[in-house]
């Protein structure tokens, strides 16, 4: 099983049983995960993104060589962000990037977003775009962050045929019924961490091909078992579940 949505470092508002990298890796392996794509909570809040990405690469190497795959943060609002992108690719050999527009203060119709996607696509990097981190009703009073508005997304990615884009935690701002519109615009995948309603995965694949659905847990912020049990609840046949658990992510990582 490949978990495409985990986070390292500390969430500032709460501690988790598994927020130390050794414990998180042990937990994921115990649940049958064979590879995990990791971003950094620090990437949402720190301005020294180069240091965040350096730590992310080192932590993945130290605690999960061949298991943890680092997805570095790039914030296109920061000066000289192009060099963060270059370092993720050239210095750290990362397979992809993780973007947080709502935490970094830009919208998807910002020209810097389109440029970032284009440069990532030219380098063959996977881009993970995180639309939410938590329920808007439960955020800290001093830290109210709206979800990313996905409306401009289809128009932006339609111009980038080489781009491979993964939407993480998409479904608090992107209704499942609108997923098809985004999926048709380009090479787009969706993780299941924030997919809700009973048998939600079955409803999602009525809108998008099962090849576009990835397993993602949003650990350690969410209980890992949530995503795991969504597979059970889906009632889907084993070949489709295998695609979601691992084959789709394997092909994407090639």
């Amino acid at each position: 099983m490949i978990d495409t949505n985990i986070n390292l470092e500390r969430w500032p508002f709460r501690r988790f049983v598994d927020d130390a990298p050794d414990r998180l890796v042990a937990k994921l392996k115990a649940r049958g995960v064979t590879q995990a794509w990791a971003g950094s909570f620090d990437g949402l809040f720190h301005r020294d993104i180069a240091a965040v990405n350096q730590r992310l690469a080192e932590t993945c190497q130290q605690f999960g060589r061949d298991f943890l795959k680092p997805f570095g943060t790039v914030n296109p609002v920061l000066p000289d962000w192009h060099d963060d992108l270059r370092r993720c690719h050239e210095a750290h050999k990362m397979p992809g990037l993780r973007l947080h527009p709502n935490y970094h203060g830009y919208t998807l119709d910002d020209p810097r977003f389109a440029e970032l996607l284009s440069l990532a696509a030219d380098r063959g990097l996977i881009v993970q775009l995180v639309l939410s981190m938590e329920d808007e009703r439960t955020q800290h009073a001093l830290h109210l962050v709206p979800h990313v508005d996905p409306k401009p997304l289809a128009g932006v990615i339609a111009k980038l045929p080489k781009l491979r884009l993964v939407l993480l935690n998409a479904f608090r701002s992107l209704p499942v019924l609108k997923a098809a519109e985004v999926a048709k615009a380009g090479q787009v995948w969706f993780d299941i961490a924030m997919l809700e309603s009973v048998a939600g995965i079955a409803k999602l694949i009525e809108q998008v091909s099962p090849e576009r659905v990835l397993f993602g847990s949003h650990s350690p912020l969410f209980y890992f078992e949530s995503a795991e049990l969504k597979l059970v609840e889906s009632g889907l046949p084993e070949p489709i579940l295998k695609q979601i658990r691992s084959s789709n992510a394997e092909r994407l990582m090639l």
Binding site: V17, E136, R137, T138, H140, E196, Y223, L229
Partner: protein, 262 residues
């Protein structure tokens, strides 16, 4: 996953496939079976009126009883009542609980729990030994409805009725606050349903309240069963605590309501 007896406190039929309430109920049970969930408690599933009229309360309760009709061994109904229509709510409790199949009441967002209009409804529920479920949220994004209770509203109500047991629905959403709000009142339990499966929720609840004051629920079909079951399956708590949360605590309340009918 390990096997437990699982009773789900909180289900609706919103968005469930089926032409009739009976068909929707069958669909929801089929999905619940994938997790081995034994029993589902069913709340209003028709009008979704936040300030229901008496006619809407009756319609919602009729739909719940219709949905349950073929599944008496798998479902328990909760009577939708409102502090805006006290006399009608009391009559509905007689119709649906005393003389009907239901075992509890659901209070949603028509009136805050702290308001004294609810006292007559609570006295009646207590007399019937009905399970009392009050929806609660602390919403941070400014979307609190005018009549929507926080756990602190429920605390006021529970203080006025110290011999009556209450369930604090959703644990207030912001569970770190909800758990603290009701901590001192031994006659209040929390349910886990209807919020993100945020790690640490159930561990804090067990630490601060004890497992005997926590009840599993999903808020399906808007929520998945999966994300809400994960709050118990994934929690770093004892097996005994999981058994209590998954079914024992709720069974105790429902069996008391059923005994009172005899």
């Amino acid at each position: 996953m390990p096997q437990y007896r699982i009773w789900d406190l909180h289900c609706h039929l919103l968005g469930v496939a089926g032409r009739t309430p009976e068909e929707k109920m069958a669909t929801l049970l089929e999905i619940a079976d994938r997790h081995g969930i034994e029993r589902l408690c069913l709340f209003f599933s028709s009008t979704w009126s936040k300030t229901p009229t008496p006619e809407e309360l009756k319609t919602d309760n009729d739909v719940v009883m219709q949905a349950m009709s073929h599944w008496a061994n798998r479902t328990h109904g909760f009577c939708y009542v409102s502090g805006e229509h006290v006399e009608f709510s009391l009559a509905e409790m007689d119709r649906c609980i005393k003389r009907g199949p239901m075992v509890g009441i659901k209070l949603w967002v028509a009136k805050r729990a702290s308001e004294r209009n609810l006292d007559a409804i609570i006295r009646k529920a207590s007399e019937l030994k009905a399970v009392i479920f009050q929806h609660t949220w602390f919403k941070q994004d400014g979307t609190q409805y005018p009549g929507e209770s926080t756990p602190l509203d429920l605390v006021e109500l529970a203080r006025r009725h110290p011999q009556t047991h209450f369930i604090c629905g959703h644990a207030g959403g912001q569970w770190e606050m909800g758990i603290r709000a009701i901590r001192a009142l031994k006659n209040v339990s929390i349910e886990l349903a209807g919020s993100d499966p945020t790690a640490g929720f159930t561990e804090m609840a067990v630490r601060e309240l004890g497992p005997e004051r926590i009840i599993y629920g999903s808020d399906s079909a808007g929520r998945s069963f999966a994300s809400q079951l994960a709050k118990v399956f994934g929690a770093d708590i004892s097996e005994d605590a999981k058994r209590m949360i998954f079914s024992e605590n709720l069974r105790r309340l429902i069996e008391a309501a059923q005994r009172a009918k005899k």
